[in-house]
Protein backbone atom coordinates (compact mmCIF):
# COMPACT_ATOMS: atom_id res chain seq x y z
CA UNK A 1 0.00 0.00 0.00
CA UNK A 2 1.23 3.48 -0.88
CA UNK A 3 1.63 6.25 1.70
CA UNK A 4 -1.16 8.74 1.04
CA UNK A 5 -2.35 11.98 2.59
CA UNK A 6 -5.01 10.27 4.63
CA UNK A 7 -2.60 7.63 5.97
CA UNK A 8 -0.19 10.44 6.88
CA UNK A 9 -2.99 12.14 8.79
CA UNK A 10 -3.80 8.83 10.50
CA UNK A 11 -0.16 8.50 11.64
CA UNK A 12 -0.25 12.06 13.04
CA UNK A 13 -3.55 11.29 14.81
CA UNK A 14 -2.06 8.16 16.38
CA UNK A 15 1.03 10.10 17.43
CA UNK A 16 -1.29 12.57 19.17
CA UNK A 17 -3.21 9.76 20.88
CA UNK A 18 0.04 8.32 22.28
CA UNK A 19 1.23 11.79 23.27
CA UNK A 20 -1.97 12.64 25.13
CA UNK A 21 -2.19 9.18 26.71
CA UNK A 22 1.30 9.74 28.10
CA UNK A 23 0.34 13.26 29.14
CA UNK A 24 -2.43 11.85 31.35
CA UNK A 25 -0.04 9.24 32.76
CA UNK A 26 2.52 11.95 33.56
CA UNK A 27 -0.03 14.27 35.11
CA UNK A 28 -1.37 11.47 37.34
CA UNK A 29 2.19 10.69 38.41
CA UNK A 30 3.04 14.34 39.11
CA UNK A 31 5.54 14.58 36.28
CA UNK A 32 4.57 17.89 34.72
CA UNK A 33 7.21 20.58 35.25
CA UNK A 34 4.94 22.56 37.57
CA UNK A 35 4.29 19.40 39.63
CA UNK A 36 7.97 18.49 39.91
CA UNK A 37 8.71 21.83 41.60
CA UNK A 38 12.41 21.69 40.67
CA UNK A 39 14.76 23.29 43.21
CA UNK A 40 17.84 23.58 41.01
CA UNK A 41 19.05 22.51 37.59
CA UNK A 42 21.56 19.78 36.90
CA UNK A 43 24.17 20.21 34.19
CA UNK A 44 24.92 17.12 32.14
CA UNK A 45 27.63 16.37 29.62
CA UNK A 46 25.51 17.28 26.60
CA UNK A 47 26.42 20.04 24.17
CA UNK A 48 22.88 20.71 22.90
CA UNK A 49 21.67 21.09 26.49
CA UNK A 50 24.43 23.65 27.07
CA UNK A 51 23.17 25.71 24.12
CA UNK A 52 19.73 25.94 25.75
CA UNK A 53 21.30 26.71 29.13
CA UNK A 54 23.22 29.62 27.60
CA UNK A 55 19.85 31.36 27.13
CA UNK A 56 19.19 31.05 30.91
CA UNK A 57 15.62 29.98 30.18
CA UNK A 58 15.96 27.15 32.74
CA UNK A 59 16.76 29.75 35.43
CA UNK A 60 13.91 32.01 34.33
CA UNK A 61 11.48 29.09 34.64
CA UNK A 62 12.72 28.24 38.13
CA UNK A 63 11.87 31.69 39.49
CA UNK A 64 8.05 31.42 39.37
CA UNK A 65 5.84 28.34 39.42
CA UNK A 66 3.40 29.83 36.88
CA UNK A 67 6.23 29.89 34.35
CA UNK A 68 6.65 26.13 34.72
CA UNK A 69 2.92 25.69 34.22
CA UNK A 70 3.10 27.93 31.15
CA UNK A 71 5.94 25.80 29.71
CA UNK A 72 3.85 22.66 30.28
CA UNK A 73 0.86 24.27 28.60
CA UNK A 74 2.78 25.27 25.46
CA UNK A 75 4.46 21.87 25.18
CA UNK A 76 1.24 19.88 25.58
CA UNK A 77 -1.02 22.00 23.40
CA UNK A 78 1.18 22.00 20.28
CA UNK A 79 0.51 18.47 18.94
CA UNK A 80 -3.23 19.19 19.06
CA UNK A 81 -2.72 22.49 17.23
CA UNK A 82 -0.54 20.73 14.66
CA UNK A 83 -3.21 18.10 14.06
CA UNK A 84 -5.96 20.71 13.68
CA UNK A 85 -3.78 22.78 11.36
CA UNK A 86 -3.37 19.71 9.15
CA UNK A 87 -7.15 19.49 8.80
CA UNK A 88 -8.15 23.15 8.63
CA UNK A 89 -5.12 25.12 7.40
CA UNK A 90 -2.60 22.78 5.75
CA UNK A 91 -0.56 25.71 4.44
CA UNK A 92 0.47 26.46 8.04
CA UNK A 93 1.81 22.96 8.63
CA UNK A 94 5.47 23.85 8.19
CA UNK A 95 5.49 26.86 10.49
CA UNK A 96 3.51 24.98 13.19
CA UNK A 97 5.91 22.05 13.00
CA UNK A 98 8.86 24.44 13.21
CA UNK A 99 7.40 26.00 16.37
CA UNK A 100 6.86 22.50 17.78
CA UNK A 101 10.45 21.55 16.99
CA UNK A 102 11.85 24.60 18.81
CA UNK A 103 9.46 24.29 21.77
CA UNK A 104 10.06 20.55 22.16
CA UNK A 105 13.81 21.01 21.96
CA UNK A 106 13.80 23.69 24.66
CA UNK A 107 11.17 22.01 26.86
CA UNK A 108 12.75 18.55 26.78
CA UNK A 109 16.29 19.76 27.41
CA UNK A 110 15.12 21.99 30.27
CA UNK A 111 12.87 19.21 31.66
CA UNK A 112 15.84 16.85 31.69
CA UNK A 113 18.13 19.39 33.33
CA UNK A 114 15.99 19.26 36.47
CA UNK A 115 16.98 16.31 38.63
CA UNK A 116 14.47 13.61 37.89
CA UNK A 117 14.60 12.88 34.18
CA UNK A 118 16.94 11.53 31.54
CA UNK A 119 17.16 12.80 27.98
CA UNK A 120 17.33 9.25 26.62
CA UNK A 121 13.69 8.55 27.44
CA UNK A 122 12.44 11.68 25.66
CA UNK A 123 13.98 11.29 22.22
CA UNK A 124 10.61 10.80 20.49
CA UNK A 125 9.55 14.36 21.31
CA UNK A 126 12.84 15.66 19.85
CA UNK A 127 12.76 13.67 16.60
CA UNK A 128 9.10 13.50 15.52
CA UNK A 129 8.82 17.28 14.87
CA UNK A 130 11.41 16.82 12.10
CA UNK A 131 8.98 14.43 10.43
CA UNK A 132 6.18 16.96 10.81
CA UNK A 133 8.21 19.61 8.98
CA UNK A 134 7.72 17.72 5.71
CA UNK A 135 5.61 19.48 3.13
CA UNK A 136 5.17 16.63 0.70
CA UNK A 137 4.06 13.03 1.11
CA UNK A 138 7.31 11.81 -0.41
CA UNK A 139 9.45 13.76 2.08
CA UNK A 140 7.22 12.48 4.88
CA UNK A 141 7.90 8.91 3.70
CA UNK A 142 11.69 9.44 3.68
CA UNK A 143 11.75 11.08 7.12
CA UNK A 144 9.42 8.45 8.55
CA UNK A 145 11.77 5.72 7.36
CA UNK A 146 14.69 7.72 8.74
CA UNK A 147 13.00 7.65 12.17
CA UNK A 148 12.57 3.91 11.85
CA UNK A 149 16.28 3.46 11.20
CA UNK A 150 17.13 5.68 14.14
CA UNK A 151 14.85 3.62 16.39
CA UNK A 152 16.52 0.41 15.20
CA UNK A 153 19.91 1.96 15.89
CA UNK A 154 18.77 3.04 19.39
CA UNK A 155 18.16 -0.58 20.39
CA UNK A 156 20.82 -2.29 18.29
CA UNK A 157 23.57 -0.02 19.63
CA UNK A 158 22.46 -0.80 23.22
CA UNK A 159 22.97 -4.50 22.43
CA UNK A 160 26.38 -3.83 20.87
CA UNK A 161 27.31 -1.74 23.90
CA UNK A 162 26.52 -4.62 26.27
CA UNK A 163 28.80 -6.85 24.21
CA UNK A 164 31.57 -4.24 23.98
CA UNK A 165 31.42 -3.51 27.71
CA UNK A 166 31.39 -7.29 28.29
CA UNK A 167 28.37 -7.19 30.62
CA UNK A 168 26.85 -9.89 28.42
CA UNK A 169 29.69 -12.30 29.25
CA UNK A 170 29.58 -11.97 33.06
CA UNK A 171 27.02 -14.16 34.79
CA UNK A 172 26.93 -11.79 37.77
CA UNK A 173 26.07 -8.65 35.78
CA UNK A 174 22.29 -8.73 36.20
CA UNK A 175 22.55 -9.54 39.91
CA UNK A 176 24.92 -6.57 40.33
CA UNK A 177 22.58 -4.33 38.32
CA UNK A 178 19.58 -5.34 40.46
CA UNK A 179 21.49 -4.81 43.69
CA UNK A 180 22.51 -1.29 42.68
CA UNK A 181 19.16 -0.33 41.15
CA UNK A 182 17.04 -1.46 44.11
CA UNK A 183 19.42 -0.82 46.99
CA UNK A 184 16.93 1.35 48.91
CA UNK A 185 14.33 -1.39 48.77
CA UNK A 186 16.77 -4.22 49.55
CA UNK A 187 18.37 -2.61 52.60
CA UNK A 188 15.03 -1.66 54.14
CA UNK A 189 14.97 -4.60 56.50
CA UNK A 190 12.18 -3.16 58.62
CA UNK A 191 9.64 -3.62 55.83
CA UNK A 192 8.13 -6.69 54.23
CA UNK A 193 8.24 -6.26 50.47
CA UNK A 194 7.23 -8.77 47.85
CA UNK A 195 9.26 -6.91 45.26
CA UNK A 196 12.39 -6.97 47.45
CA UNK A 197 11.95 -10.73 47.89
CA UNK A 198 11.86 -11.22 44.12
CA UNK A 199 14.90 -8.99 43.53
CA UNK A 200 16.82 -10.76 46.30
CA UNK A 201 15.94 -14.13 44.82
CA UNK A 202 17.22 -13.01 41.41
CA UNK A 203 20.39 -11.58 42.97
CA UNK A 204 21.14 -14.83 44.77
CA UNK A 205 20.48 -16.81 41.57
CA UNK A 206 22.83 -15.10 39.08
CA UNK A 207 22.50 -17.82 36.45
CA UNK A 208 18.76 -17.20 36.22
CA UNK A 209 19.03 -13.40 36.42
CA UNK A 210 21.73 -13.44 33.72
CA UNK A 211 19.20 -15.10 31.41
CA UNK A 212 17.15 -11.89 31.63
CA UNK A 213 20.18 -9.72 30.81
CA UNK A 214 21.36 -11.94 27.99
CA UNK A 215 17.81 -12.29 26.67
CA UNK A 216 17.47 -8.51 26.60
CA UNK A 217 20.82 -8.15 24.81
CA UNK A 218 19.87 -10.70 22.15
CA UNK A 219 16.50 -8.96 21.72
CA UNK A 220 18.29 -5.63 21.24
CA UNK A 221 20.68 -7.16 18.72
CA UNK A 222 17.69 -8.58 16.83
CA UNK A 223 16.77 -4.98 15.98
CA UNK A 224 19.80 -5.05 13.64
CA UNK A 225 17.74 -7.32 11.40
CA UNK A 226 15.52 -4.34 10.67
CA UNK A 227 18.35 -2.66 8.73
CA UNK A 228 18.08 -5.34 6.06
CA UNK A 229 14.40 -6.26 5.97
CA UNK A 230 11.04 -4.94 7.11
CA UNK A 231 9.59 -8.43 7.25
CA UNK A 232 10.03 -8.80 11.02
CA UNK A 233 8.86 -5.35 12.08
CA UNK A 234 5.79 -6.68 13.89
CA UNK A 235 8.05 -9.01 15.88
CA UNK A 236 10.32 -6.06 16.68
CA UNK A 237 7.29 -4.08 17.86
CA UNK A 238 6.30 -6.97 20.12
CA UNK A 239 9.85 -7.26 21.49
CA UNK A 240 9.81 -3.52 22.18
CA UNK A 241 6.53 -3.78 24.13
CA UNK A 242 7.84 -6.74 26.16
CA UNK A 243 11.03 -4.76 26.80
CA UNK A 244 8.98 -1.82 28.14
CA UNK A 245 6.92 -4.03 30.46
CA UNK A 246 9.98 -5.89 31.80
CA UNK A 247 11.77 -2.59 32.34
CA UNK A 248 8.95 -1.49 34.62
CA UNK A 249 8.65 -4.84 36.43
CA UNK A 250 12.32 -5.72 36.83
CA UNK A 251 14.12 -2.39 36.73
CA UNK A 252 11.33 0.00 37.77
CA UNK A 253 12.24 2.27 34.84
CA UNK A 254 9.46 3.69 32.66
CA UNK A 255 10.48 4.10 29.03
CA UNK A 256 6.90 4.70 27.85
CA UNK A 257 7.80 7.97 26.16
CA UNK A 258 9.67 6.11 23.44
CA UNK A 259 6.41 4.46 22.30
CA UNK A 260 5.72 6.89 19.38
CA UNK A 261 8.53 5.06 17.56
CA UNK A 262 6.24 2.01 17.43
CA UNK A 263 4.40 3.80 14.63
CA UNK A 264 7.49 3.56 12.44
CA UNK A 265 7.35 -0.24 12.75
CA UNK A 266 3.59 -0.58 12.27
CA UNK A 267 3.61 1.51 9.09
CA UNK A 268 7.02 0.48 7.76
CA UNK A 269 5.64 -1.47 4.82
CA UNK A 270 4.02 1.56 3.24
CA UNK A 271 5.42 2.15 -0.24
CA UNK A 272 6.88 5.45 -1.38
CA UNK A 273 4.26 7.48 -3.35
CA UNK A 274 4.85 7.42 -7.10
CA UNK A 275 3.90 11.04 -7.65
CA UNK A 276 5.02 14.06 -5.68
CA UNK A 277 2.04 15.59 -3.87
CA UNK A 278 2.01 18.50 -1.47
CA UNK A 279 0.22 17.99 1.81
CA UNK A 280 -1.65 21.27 1.44
CA UNK A 281 -3.36 20.24 -1.78
CA UNK A 282 -7.16 20.49 -1.48
CA UNK A 283 -7.78 16.88 -2.59
CA UNK A 284 -5.78 15.56 0.38
CA UNK A 285 -8.66 13.74 2.05
CA UNK A 286 -9.76 11.93 -1.09
CA UNK A 287 -6.23 10.80 -1.87
CA UNK A 288 -6.47 7.56 0.08
CA UNK A 289 -4.97 4.32 -1.20
Amino acid sequence: MQLTGSIRLKIIRQYCLIFYGLMIFKWLNGMFLYQLQPIFFFTTLDFTTWLVMLTNIHKWLLQESWRLLFADFIFYILPLIYYLVNIKKPRLVFITALVMLVVNYIYVTVYCSYPSNSLQGHIAWLFFPFLFLSQSIKTFWFLFNGLRYYFLYFFFSAGIWKLAQQGFFYTETMSGVLQLQHKSLLTDSGRESFRADIYNWLITHPIISSLLYRGATIAELFFGMGFFTKRYDYILALIFLIFLVFNVLIMRIAYWEVTPFLLTLFYSKLVIPETESKINQPNLQSNSG
Binding site: F40, T43, W50, L54, G176, Q181, S184, A196, M251
Partner: protein
Amino acid sequence: MHIGMYSGAFKIQPEISVTEIFVNGEKLSAADFSAVQWDKIQMPIELYCYQHKRGKSFYHEDIKRLLAVFSIPSKESSFYTRLSNAEFLTSYKEVLSSIIGKEVNKIEILRSKYRYLQKDDQAKYILINSKEFFEQCN
Protein backbone atom coordinates in the same frame (compact mmCIF):
# COMPACT_ATOMS: atom_id res chain seq x y z
CA MET B 1 20.31 6.73 40.11
CA HIS B 2 19.12 4.61 37.23
CA ILE B 3 21.07 2.09 35.28
CA GLY B 4 20.12 2.65 31.67
CA MET B 5 20.20 0.60 28.50
CA TYR B 6 23.83 1.55 27.96
CA SER B 7 25.38 0.00 31.05
CA GLY B 8 28.52 -2.04 31.39
CA ALA B 9 29.58 -5.07 33.40
CA PHE B 10 28.56 -5.24 37.06
CA LYS B 11 29.41 -7.43 39.99
CA ILE B 12 27.53 -8.03 43.22
CA GLN B 13 29.04 -5.51 45.63
CA PRO B 14 30.16 -6.67 49.08
CA GLU B 15 29.28 -3.19 50.42
CA ILE B 16 26.72 -0.67 49.21
CA SER B 17 25.95 2.92 50.20
CA VAL B 18 22.33 4.01 50.49
CA THR B 19 20.77 7.42 51.05
CA GLU B 20 18.19 7.26 53.84
CA ILE B 21 15.65 9.94 54.65
CA PHE B 22 14.00 10.31 58.03
CA VAL B 23 10.92 12.53 58.22
CA ASN B 24 9.69 13.50 61.69
CA GLY B 25 11.87 10.68 63.05
CA GLU B 26 10.45 8.01 60.73
CA LYS B 27 12.41 6.44 57.87
CA LEU B 28 10.88 6.74 54.39
CA SER B 29 10.58 3.35 52.77
CA ALA B 30 10.91 2.82 49.02
CA ALA B 31 8.27 0.09 49.33
CA ASP B 32 5.65 2.73 50.16
CA PHE B 33 6.17 4.70 46.95
CA SER B 34 5.93 4.13 43.23
CA ALA B 35 9.18 4.13 41.24
CA VAL B 36 8.36 7.62 39.91
CA GLN B 37 7.65 8.98 43.39
CA TRP B 38 10.81 7.43 44.82
CA ASP B 39 12.85 9.01 42.02
CA LYS B 40 11.32 12.38 42.86
CA ILE B 41 12.30 11.88 46.50
CA GLN B 42 15.83 10.55 45.98
CA MET B 43 17.18 12.09 42.80
CA PRO B 44 17.22 15.75 43.92
CA ILE B 45 19.32 14.82 46.98
CA GLU B 46 21.79 12.68 45.06
CA LEU B 47 22.17 15.14 42.22
CA TYR B 48 22.34 18.17 44.53
CA CYS B 49 25.32 16.57 46.24
CA TYR B 50 27.00 15.78 42.92
CA GLN B 51 26.33 19.27 41.60
CA HIS B 52 27.53 20.87 44.85
CA LYS B 53 30.81 18.99 44.66
CA ARG B 54 31.45 18.94 40.92
CA GLY B 55 29.21 21.58 39.33
CA LYS B 56 31.60 24.52 39.52
CA SER B 57 34.68 22.65 38.35
CA PHE B 58 32.61 20.93 35.65
CA TYR B 59 31.83 24.36 34.20
CA HIS B 60 35.40 25.69 34.38
CA GLU B 61 37.19 22.54 33.28
CA ASP B 62 34.84 21.26 30.58
CA ILE B 63 31.90 23.44 29.56
CA LYS B 64 33.71 26.79 29.32
CA ARG B 65 36.62 25.23 27.47
CA LEU B 66 34.47 23.34 24.95
CA LEU B 67 32.15 26.29 24.26
CA ALA B 68 35.22 28.50 23.74
CA VAL B 69 36.33 26.16 20.94
CA PHE B 70 33.24 27.38 19.04
CA SER B 71 33.84 30.98 20.21
CA ILE B 72 30.67 30.85 22.32
CA PRO B 73 30.97 33.07 25.42
CA SER B 74 29.44 31.67 28.62
CA LYS B 75 28.86 32.51 32.27
CA GLU B 76 29.26 30.25 35.28
CA SER B 77 25.80 31.18 36.60
CA SER B 78 24.10 29.62 33.53
CA PHE B 79 25.47 26.21 34.41
CA TYR B 80 25.90 26.19 38.14
CA THR B 81 23.58 27.24 40.97
CA ARG B 82 25.23 28.31 44.17
CA LEU B 83 22.92 26.73 46.74
CA SER B 84 23.87 26.10 50.36
CA ASN B 85 22.85 22.90 52.14
CA ALA B 86 20.43 24.89 54.29
CA GLU B 87 18.82 26.59 51.26
CA PHE B 88 18.48 23.28 49.50
CA LEU B 89 16.93 21.63 52.55
CA THR B 90 14.36 24.41 53.00
CA SER B 91 13.10 24.00 49.43
CA TYR B 92 13.43 20.23 49.51
CA LYS B 93 11.21 19.99 52.59
CA GLU B 94 8.39 21.69 50.65
CA VAL B 95 8.77 19.36 47.68
CA LEU B 96 8.98 16.31 49.91
CA SER B 97 5.92 17.39 51.85
CA SER B 98 3.85 17.53 48.64
CA ILE B 99 5.05 14.05 47.57
CA ILE B 100 4.50 12.23 50.87
CA GLY B 101 1.35 14.19 51.70
CA LYS B 102 2.28 15.27 55.20
CA GLU B 103 4.06 18.16 56.85
CA VAL B 104 7.82 17.81 57.22
CA ASN B 105 8.76 19.27 60.60
CA LYS B 106 12.07 17.51 61.00
CA ILE B 107 14.24 15.94 58.34
CA GLU B 108 17.40 13.92 58.63
CA ILE B 109 19.31 12.55 55.66
CA LEU B 110 21.94 9.86 56.17
CA ARG B 111 24.36 8.02 54.00
CA SER B 112 24.45 4.46 55.30
CA LYS B 113 26.85 1.71 54.37
CA TYR B 114 25.62 -1.89 54.33
CA ARG B 115 27.50 -5.16 54.03
CA TYR B 116 25.97 -7.75 51.73
CA LEU B 117 25.93 -11.29 53.05
CA GLN B 118 24.62 -14.32 51.24
CA LYS B 119 23.98 -17.70 52.81
CA ASP B 120 22.44 -20.25 50.46
CA ASP B 121 19.41 -18.50 48.95
CA GLN B 122 19.19 -15.83 51.64
CA ALA B 123 20.53 -12.33 51.07
CA LYS B 124 21.13 -10.06 54.05
CA TYR B 125 22.26 -6.48 54.36
CA ILE B 126 24.02 -5.60 57.62
CA LEU B 127 24.37 -1.94 58.57
CA ILE B 128 28.03 -0.96 58.99
CA ASN B 129 27.72 2.76 59.67
CA SER B 130 25.67 5.89 58.96
CA LYS B 131 26.97 9.39 58.34
CA GLU B 132 25.34 12.78 57.92
CA PHE B 133 24.57 12.92 54.17
CA PHE B 134 25.84 16.43 53.52
CA GLU B 135 29.28 15.65 54.98
CA GLN B 136 30.25 14.04 51.70
CA CYS B 137 28.94 16.94 49.61
CA ASN B 138 31.49 19.53 50.69
